[in-house]
Each structure stands twice: as structure tokens, then as C-alpha cells.
């Protein structure tokens, strides 16, 4: 069985959306997925939980407009919907880096409910070793 590891370091909607697409794609072919949020991505998750905006991450305004229009029309799913759907229908685990959480002085309560656990570097490296394919965003 192919295992997919997704490392998300960039704290933007764009990075989260790409991670969500990969997670859904992997889930549809029954591949287990582990999404590991670290560094700046944790701050973005915290802000999202607080209802604050997170950076879009698009360097081209044209891309951002096209993305937002498609989102408003319901043509595409938000990054959160993608992650929630992949978790609901497949074997998808969401992990947040322990160091990042420690630096921000937060815990699971400050993060979206789709986060399964907080774990450290050894677990991260183990996950990468077990992953047959690793994506980074």
C-alpha cells in the first residue's frame, strides 16, 4: 500500500488548498495520508481557528481573483472542505508540529478540530520514512 506524506510549512490558503487536493486525490485511490503542519502553517491554522484571515499566498492577482471567483461559485472546495472530506472518507491523519505549538504557547484547543494530534520531530521523520511519496507545500 502506497503511503502519502504531506508536509505543510507555508501558512497560506494556496499552500493549504494544494495540500487538500493531494489529500483528496490520495484518499480516492485508498492511499493512507499523513498531513504534517509545521512552522508558519501552524500560525495560519491558529488564525483560521480564531476567525482571522490568512494570507492567500498567490503572487499573481489574476490567480487569486480566479480562485476566489471559483470558490464563490461553488466550483471548487475550500481547503478546509478538502481536508474534512479526505478525513471523512479515507485514512487521513493530521498532525501538528510540537515545537511550533510550543513556540506559539498553544494546544489542540487553539487549532481546527480536524487536527488529530501534536507530535514531534521523531514522529515526523518516521512519517517521512514510512511515506512512499512526500509532498511539500
Amino acid at each position: 500500500m502506497v503511503k502519502i506524506t504531506i508536509l505543510v510549512r507555508t501558512g497560506t490558503e494556496s499552500a493549504f488548498h494544494q495540500a487538500g487536493i493531494v489529500a483528496v486525490g490520495a484518499m480516492t485511490v485508498d492511499y493512507p495520508v499523513r498531513i504534517f503542519f509545521m512552522d508558519d502553517a501552524i500560525t495560519a491554522l491558529k488564525k483560521y481557528k480564531e476567525g482571522k484571515p490568512i494570507p492567500s499566498g498567490y503572487s499573481n492577482a489574476e490567480t487569486e481573483i480566479a480562485f476566489n471567483t471559483a470558490l464563490e461559485k461553488g466550483k471548487i472546495m475550500s481547503w478546509e472542505e478538502l481536508i474534512l472530506n479526505s478525513k471523512k472518507m479515507g485514512n487521513v491523519e493530521v498532525v501538528v508540529c510540537a515545537l511550533g505549538v510550543d513556540l506559539l504557547e498553544i494546544d489542540l484547543r487553539h487549532l481546527p478540530s480536524f487536527v488529530d494530534k501534536i507530535s514531534g520531530a521523531a514522529d515526523l521523520v518516521g512519517g517521512i520514512k514510512e511515506g512512499d511519496i512526500v509532498f511539500t507545500f
Partner: protein, 81 residues
Amino acid sequence: MSLDDIKPDYVADARGSSCPGPILEAKKSIGKVPVGGILEVRATDPGTKNDLPAWAKKMKHEVLGIKEADGYFSIFIRRKK
């Protein structure tokens, strides 16, 4: 059997949805079809014509064909397991 003669067991409507919406819809819907039954996925996203057959092949289902309709297309998949 002609595609026009197919009577699907379930129709999944993914029209207007971009990738990975149609594939997600197919994944959700295939369980509503009995093994041996036929799922019809309606879509408008052009990439789906490649993506959905690739998914079906990976999942060991059979693609019966793609039928063009007015403003959309239908992909017929026979559930094999």
C-alpha cells in the same frame, strides 16, 4: 451495448465542479451501486475525462465509455468490486 442503452444504477452529478470535485463525487457514489452495477458521473470539467477513467482503472472498475450531452458529458463506470 451502446452507451445510449445503459440504464445506470446511480447518477452522480458533478456538473460545474472542478478537480477534484468529480473524482470525490465518484468515490462517494460508487458505494451506492451494487457490484456489477453501473455508475454514471455527469461532469463539465474537461480534465475529468482523463482523471475519472484513471481513477476507475486504479480502483479496478471498468469504464464503459464517455457520452457527450448538451453542455456536459457522462462517464459510465461498472463497479467491479
